[in-house]
């Protein structure tokens, strides 16, 4: 064997400077690429999120085929560990009734087979257990309740439209009474102990929102996704002033103080958990009627909740015809200084295109959105 040295004098390598320059260039390239990768991941999560909403749309329509109406937002058969607590009989969210149509017959049968039917905060059946993945928008990164970590009872990101006014949850005004339950109608497609169908949708199913996203809270006590009390009757502007839309934080301490936060009780049907109103634009404040507390848990108070998401720019909404649309945060909300319409009132919505999309029977002409 013979080694031939072609360059006779010294071996040519890289100088330290050259090496550093190359490393710097690679670092710059990676820095340019990383945000793009993150954006691609968010885009994927976002389309998954939209797909979940579409599944809800199909489930609602299959439910409609079977029952001639959409599922109620809040309703229930048993639903109480304490017989006689009438209000607790109305605790289940529509999510429960859509389970068989979301390929979760097993879960549905398990719950319905128990006597009495477990409450949504039941520590054996729901607390600490996960809900179906279709309830969970992957962009919502919260995994445990920031207020009451040990009461996390199924993650949820989707809410039902209550029209352009406040959505109530109590069906009895006195706790523990055995009096007959009252329905809570809405100007939207979903109420309490009340099922609306496509025949109730006089504005046209492609012009009426059925469901949309609501963001899960990640931080307490001021993080977005939580809810603040406002004097009754709620003035939409009083509600919106309590939320800083630039920082996406409340300016006062929000609720709940101790119990489950919105998004962490998948089968809780109260408006606090699973309703939104088309009054304040997407990603703004959510408020509770301060006169509706009366010694019960915060989440039984009537809520004027905004739709919202952790996507940038807006939210996904499901129209009543099953289409999913992206709604911009700056959608026209008309006259926010107008008083909230009565929950069973008729007539046009004062809240612009957003309000018109929320009502099922407002007879508003809806343009582009």
């Amino acid at each position: 064997m013979r080694f031939v040295r072609r360059s006779s004098h010294r071996q040519r390598g890289f100088t330290l400077i050259e090496l550093l320059v190359v490393i710097a260039i690679i670092a710059v390239l990676i820095a340019l690429l990383l945000p793009a990768v993150q954006q691609a991941r968010e885009a994927a999560r976002r389309s998954q999120c939209k797909n979940n909403l579409k599944q809800f749309g199909l489930a609602l329509h299959n439910y409609h085929d079977a029952h001639k109406a959409f599922a109620p937002r809040q309703s229930g058969s048993g639903g109480s560990n304490t017989p006689g607590l009438g209000w607790a009989r109305t605790a289940y969210a529509g999510h429960m009734y859509l389970l068989p149509y979301l390929e979760n017959q097993g879960r549905f049968k398990d719950v319905m087979g128990r006597v009495p039917h477990p409450v949504p905060w039941d520590t054996v059946v729901f607390v600490g257990k996960s809900a179906p993945a279709v309830f969970d928008c992957p962009t919502d990164s919260g995994r445990t309740d920031p207020v009451a970590p040990t009461r996390t009872a199924g993650l949820n990101s989707y809410a039902y439209c209550a029209g352009d006014t406040i959505a109530y949850s109590k069906t009895q005004l006195v706790t523990g009474a055995t009096a007959p339950l009252n329905t809570r109608p809405t100007r939207g497609m979903f109420g309490v102990l009340q099922c609306y169908g496509l025949t109730d949708c006089k504005d046209g199913s492609s012009n009426t929102i059925a469901m949309a996203e609501r963001p899960r809270a990640e931080t307490a006590p001021r993080g977005r996704g939580l809810v603040v009390p406002v004097a009754s009757p709620i003035a939409p502007l009083a509600c919106s002033a309590l939320f800083n839309r630039s920082t996406q934080q409340y300016v006062i301490n929000a609720l709940p103080a101790t119990d489950s936060a919105p998004g962490y009780r998948a089968y809780g049907g109260q408006s606090f958990f699973v309703a939104f109103s088309t009054v304040l634009p997407p990603n703004s404040a959510s408020c509770l009627d301060a006169s509706d507390f009366a010694g019960m848990s915060e989440h039984w108070a009537g809520a004027l909740a905004s739709a919202g998401s952790w996507h940038s720019g807006g939210i996904h909404a499901l129209m009543s015809d099953g289409a999913t649309r992206f709604i911009n945060n700056s959608i026209d909300t008309g006259n926010l200084s107008a008083a909230l319409p009565a929950i069973n009132g008729s007539g046009r919505s004062p809240y612009g295109v957003w309000g018109a999309l929320g009502t099922r029977n407002g007879r508003e002409p809806v343009g582009e959105f």
């Binding site: 109480s80 560990n81 304490t82 607590l85 607790a88 409450v119 905060w121 039941d122 520590t123 009451a148 009461r151 603040v228 009390p229 406002v230 004097a231 003035a235 502007l237 009083a238 919106s240 002033a241 309590l242 939320f243 800083n244 839309r245 630039s246 300016v251 006062i252 301490n253 929000a254 609720l255 103080a257 101790t258 119990d259 703004s284 301060a290 006169s291 507390f293 009366a294 010694g295 019960m296 848990s297 915060e298 911009n328 700056s330 959608i331 026209d332 008309g334 006259n335 926010l336 200084s337 107008a338 004062p350």
Partner: protein, 147 residues
């Protein structure tokens, strides 16, 4: 030359690709700031709401520690539409005391919502406060509440 080009590019990037179509139809707003006091003491975390006497664009704001506030008609953008308004002010405290457990396992707060200023200011009919915002805006709007 290159420098100008760079600045131009950066400026274009900052502006983005176009104005928001929903913002085009909004009326012109002017800057309105002021101070709110209760019994001559600065009032913090109060919600100030302006309901227009006519027209359809109210405004609202919340006060900071020193009682100062800024009104917004289209949050997060600053400013209110000139005109005359009725004003209401609210300040409510959430039930924050430790909760007790009801007999079926729900947590129930041991207190209800509390008003921290006289309730009459919270209603547009009883507050008796009015404001006129001129075309030039306002920088010294004073709201003086009394017990």
């Amino acid at each position: 030359m290159l420098r100008h080009f760079l600045i131009l590019t950066l400026a274009l990037m900052a502006i983005g690709c176009g104005a928001d179509p929903d913002k085009k139809n909004r009326p012109k707003t002017v800057k309105v700031t002021g101070v709110i006091t209760l019994q001559k003491q600065p009032l913090d975390a109060a919600t100030i709401v302006l309901i227009p006497a006519s027209g359809s664009h109210g405004a609202s704001g919340t006060s900071a520690k020193d009682g100062s506030f800024e009104l917004k008609t289209f949050p997060p953008d600053s400013g209110a539409v000139p005109g005359s308004y009725k004003v209401m002010v609210q300040k409510i405290q959430s039930p924050t005391e430790p909760s007790k457990t009801s007999d079926d396992g729900e947590l129930v707060p041991s207190s209800d919502v509390k008003w921290l200023i006289p309730m009459r200011y919270g209603d547009i009919e009883t507050s008796k406060l009015t404001v006129i915002i001129p075309e030039s805006g306002l920088s010294d709007l004073k709201l003086e509440l009394v017990e």
